[in-house]
Amino acid sequence: MSRSFGDTILIWALRACAAIAGAVVLLIGCFVLAESIPALASIGLTRFFSDASWHPTQGLYGLLPMLWGTLLATAGAVLLATPLGIAAGVFCNFYAPPPLAKIYRRILELLAGIPSVVYGFWGLMVLVPLIGRLQPPGPSLLAGILVLTLMTLPTIALTADAAIRSVPDDYRRAAAALGLSRFATVRRVILPVAKSGLLTGVILQVGRALGETMAILMVCGNQVQTPRSVFDPIRTLTANIALEMAYATGSHRGALFVSGLLLLGVIVCLVIVADRVAHRRVHV
């Protein structure tokens, strides 16, 4: 295709922009990898999982307790936030009167934008003392789960709302024509059709919960241990990086980058899975 001279310049400029934008993620991967390689070489990948504990100054690099912390906090939060979020999405589309649904959506959007540090601060001020009264010490896995739930809920609700709204009206009409009740319509018709959209939203929120740092850092107590109950303080991988990055050197610093690399790897997998799910359409 022949173009004017100006267009040719434009296209190359745009391509340069896109190449840079596309390369950022590679750059991140490369640098985090490059910083981890010395630690991986000197410590070895297996010791990150086999060492009994995390005492980098004494040469112990076990990430497992923190990995458990991360996984449990994420799992708890997603398990709590998903039903609530989907309920909120259903509420917006089927139960709330339209003006209320509109306001509700706006509030959710607003909440989705509240910084994690504010959630963390509130958790520290309010939730932690509450839990402490229930079962000392207070800063705990439970606090982390609750704060993460609050943080992920608005976004899950918004994606659920969008997924439900994108279900073609024909389904609603068909269900109504069959005389299905409102709840039966939602449960038997709408939710199954919207499944892939709902699932994509949840998977992406899993990624967000795994990577969340500030709120967790502020409410979880940050003790390196495998929790035995939800009231035990925990430390997550992200919190660990945030806490120790400031003074870590040598292998210790490298080990922190290894945990960053681990997070990055998990996120990449989740994004790919989400992409697959999103493109597997129930209706054609």
Binding site: M1, S2, R3, S4
Partner: protein, 275 residues
């Protein structure tokens, strides 16, 4: 354009045919494929200089696609492949090296739905001229006025040239779109059902305008309105869907097509029995 001697039909010399039988833009074995289907196949069609060629046929037989391939608007559609030749004044314009912007200036196009640029009436004509390198403001002004007079819009809008174009009525908008194209001094005008989105009155005005452009421009018009084709066309090309894609089934002088079509399908279509 040395050989152009615009011929103006006048009732005195008996009206059409006014045009020379000299193909100004012509296709040869032209086919257009989208990723999953073929819009039209193997179309060889001459569009004679100064004449009005009507392209008729049922919906979905590739008429609009054909027009869009003539000025390479099909370049905008991803996964769209054109094969065959298109010659403008004897020169092939299908190659990669062809300057499509210059081509589109020579081969103007009007769509069914008149869409003004989101500017004032004046800027609708002024902006394309400036983009095509007409630097002198006075030259642009002269071209704008001439084009607006040509489409009979000058008297209606001369007092509000700086008002937003979106405020015009449908028929006025279509004439503005034609003026916008005429201001660029095209050789060929491609009109894609220019009247079908307008009310009957406006449709009549635009039709008269098109007829008045005969001789000065080489015109191809896609229309669903056979009566219209009969009124204004010198030549008629009949398209039909065969084996899932559009084919040119008959081409000839308008009188011949309307009075003694050689194809049965054409006869049926003209007779209003099919399509």
């Amino acid at each position: 354009m040395t050989s152009t001697q615009p011929c103006r039909p006048s009732p005195a010399d008996g009206g059409p045919p006014c045009c020379e039988p000299h193909p100004w833009i012509e296709t040869e074995g032209l086919s257009l494929h989208y990723s999953t289907r073929t819009a039209f196949r193997d179309v060889t069609l001459p569009i004679h200089k100064g004449c009005i060629t009507a392209i008729v046929g049922p919906s979905g037989c590739g008429k609009s696609s054909l027009l869009q391939s003539l000025n390479r608007l099909t370049d905008l559609i991803p996964e769209c492949r054109v094969t065959g030749r298109i010659r403008l004044d004897g020169q092939d314009v299908t190659g990669r090296e062809v300057d499509v912007i210059a081509l589109r200036r020579r081969v103007g196009m009007i769509f069914q739905k008149p869409i003004p640029l989101p500017f004032s009436i004046r800027k609708n004509l002024d902006f394309p001229l400036r983009q095509h390198g007409v630097r002198q403001a006075s030259a642009r002004q002269a071209k704008i006025e001439r084009a607006l007079r040509d489409v009979g819009l000058w008297n209606e809008v001369k007092d509000r040239l700086d008002a937003p174009a979106a405020g015009l009525s449908g028929g006025q908008l279509q004439r503005l779109c034609i003026a916008r194209t005429l201001a660029l001094d095209p050789e060929v005008l491609l009109l894609d059902e220019p009247c079908s989105a307008l009310d009957p009155l406006a449709s009549g005005t635009v039709e008269d305008l098109i007829a008045s452009l005969r001789g000065r421009y080489t015109i191809a018009i896609v229309t669903h309105n056979l009566a219209q084709a009969r009124r204004i066309a010198d030549h008629v090309a009949v398209f039909w869907v065969q084996e899932g894609c559009g084919r040119l089934i008959e081409f000839g002088a308008a009188a011949a097509i309307f009075h003694q079509p050689t194809q049965e399908l054409t006869a049926a279509y003209i007779g209003g029995m099919r399509g």
